[in-house]
Amino acid sequence: MSMVIETDNLVKVYGKGKEEVRALNGINMKIPPRSVYGLFGPNGSGKTTLITILIGLQLPTGGSAKVLGHDVLRESVEIRRRVGLLPEGFGFYEHMTALENLSFFGALDDLPAEKVKARALEVLETIGLKEKTNAKVATFSRGMMQRLGMAQALMKDPELLMLDEPTVGIDPEGAAEFRDIVRGLNKEGKTVLMSTHLLYEIGMVCTHAAMIRAGKLLAQGTVDELSRPVREAKGFAYEIHVRSGGDTLRQDIKLLPDVREASLRDDKITVIAEKDVGTALFSLMTGDAYRDQIVSVTPVSPSWEDLYQFYQGGESA
């Protein structure tokens, strides 16, 4: 499968001598198509630097990167033709209306002149700002600005969206609506690269994630790929909901190979195993003995906090 973004040992160094700072230190990242790829890391970890290099606003000091098959050094204009960017700390021409701003940026996106206005109205409707079409941007709230930021990124109908800390500074309701927009765009087939320092946001929107710290990728992959090493280290957890007779079932589960612990509380049995025992538990659920007692068997994924703590500890996947 060809990747939407592929970097090879990407390095970015600011300053020289004693003031040298390695903002990116050998990043190898692969972003598959149609994914929502969360780039998680604390402030100053290199997320913005990585995004600005990928779109051609900065040049890498070393290594290479391809976006949609185009080299970031030689073909940055082609990249910008196909990629929409919502940068951090962006702004608009505040004396102009939302429509005027979008029409201006649309004209620079190579949209045919006769289609610019129609496209601007279309994206304003998509991001829920239709009623503000002719309002001056100076009157916009932070949340509306963020939506308009998304609108300008969508003007060129990009295959890939890069969103740098898109929910920073907006209220929880606005952030939730923003995440809905991202999910909707992903359903339409767009790939999204989204940086954030909010761990919970990754779990809410992303299909894939990477953790970055001090310019290094600690881990990357699907949620399942990222959780597996953590589960192997800390144990595989399952929750079994039961109707009745939970204690007998709990004792039988404890006799299964590799099961370390099984505890009953109310109508829920929590199982911790050394290995993946999902198949054995599923057999119990469908077998004659407990078919009527077991409501569901659910594997419990480690939380994003667990993952981050695990990878931050240096046990890279």
């Binding site: 913005t48 630097t49 600005t52 779109i55 606003l57 900065q58 040049l59 204009v77 082609e78 910008r80 033709r81 990629v83 929409g84 960017l85 940068p87 700390g89 962006f90 702004g91 608009f92 021409y93 505040e94 004396h95 201006f104 940026f105 004209a107 620079l108 996106d109 190579d110 930021g149 300008q152 990124a153 060129k156």
Partner: protein
């Protein structure tokens, strides 16, 4: 080129609808009104004896003096936040995330600036000169029109020299306030400090001749010899000051404008009329003209180099 024009259209609309532009426009109008009044005053005081050609030169000289201050202000007002302002507002990243080359951004801004500067200087100069001419009923010759046209080009070059300096500072600055301070500082240095500094240096370098009593020639000197002594002194002072002021774009503008309108300040502060035809002006002031052209070109090239190489974090 299309993208440059798209940017230029927006920049032009922004510029001519901005408060800053109308503030400078208001200053232009005030100063030109003063010029019209000044010409009317000169006319009342003895214009009949000057002749219409002399009056046209007076009008031109007044306009040149006004534009000597206003053209740099106009250039700086258009450029000091051209790039740094985009950076501050956060629009630069959005702009540069479009499929364009960085040169397109600068091209667009310069096309717009050329249009605004040209329009402002041509319109205001023509209005002022026409008002004076019509009010005084002066007959304008084709030579006057050619001189005025040439002068407008010189004034636009002066405005563009300051536009280029401000643009250059703006390309590497993240704060428009910083960019404005540097630009205004350069203007104040060239327009006010350097002439004083040059005179001071020249006075220190050339020994002052002994004071001589004009009415009572003594020590065997005739009055004619006394003027020769002071004339030599003044010429040496002028030579040194003009050499020092070579670095000032304002000085080259003034030299051309003075030659164009035939008025220059003499050794004793009097205005001397030394009228040259246009070919004569160009052949006398070709170095000044070259520097006036080179100044904006150098700073515009420097702006391109800095802006296209600068990385936006």
């Amino acid at each position: 080129m299309n993208k440059s024009l798209t940017i230029a259209r927006r920049e032009f609309t922004d510029a001519i609808t901005s408060k800053r532009f109308w503030l400078i426009g208001g200053l232009f109008i005030l100063l030109y009104l003063a010029n019209v009044y000044g010409v009317a005053y000169v006319f009342r005081m003895g214009g009949g004896t000057f002749g219409s050609s002399r009056l046209t030169l007076q009008i031109g000289s007044n306009v040149a003096s006004t534009l000597g201050y206003m053209a740099p202000l106009l250039g700086m007002a258009l450029a000091f936040d051209a790039i740094s302002g985009e950076r501050e507002r956060g629009t630069l990243r959005i702009l540069l995330s479009r499929p364009l080359y960085r040169e397109d951004v600068l091209n667009g801004k310069m096309i717009s600036a050329a249009a605004v500067v040209g329009l402002t200087i041509v319109a205001s100069t023509l209005l002022s000169v026409s008002a004076s001419i019509l009010l005084q009923g002066i007959a304008v010759t084709s030579d006057d029109i050619v001189r005025l046209g040439f002068f407008i080009v010189i004034a636009i070059l002066l405005a563009f020299a300051y536009y280029a300096i401000s643009l250059f500072v703006s390309t590497f600055s993240s704060k428009s306030g910083y960019s404005l301070t540097i630009s205004v500082g350069v203007w104040i240095f060239f327009a006010f400090i350097l002439p004083i500094l040059a005179t001071f240096i020249a006075s220190a370098m050339v020994p002052r001749p002994a004071l001589v009593n004009v009415t009572a020639p003594t020590q065997g000197r005739e009055p004619g010899q006394m003027f020769t002594v002071t004339g030599n002194y003044t010429r040496r002072i002028e030579a040194i000051t003009s050499t020092i002021e070579t670095i000032s774009v304002n000085s080259h503008y003034s030299t051309i404008a003075d030659s164009l309108f035939g008025l220059r300040t003499g050794a004793f502060g009097q205005q001397e009329v030394t009228r040259l035809d246009l070919a004569g002006v160009i052949s006398t002031c070709w170095v000044d003209l070259l520097i006036l052209v080179a100044f904006p070109v150098i700073f515009l090239v420097a702006s391109y180099v800095v802006f296209t190489r600068r990385q936006e974090k």
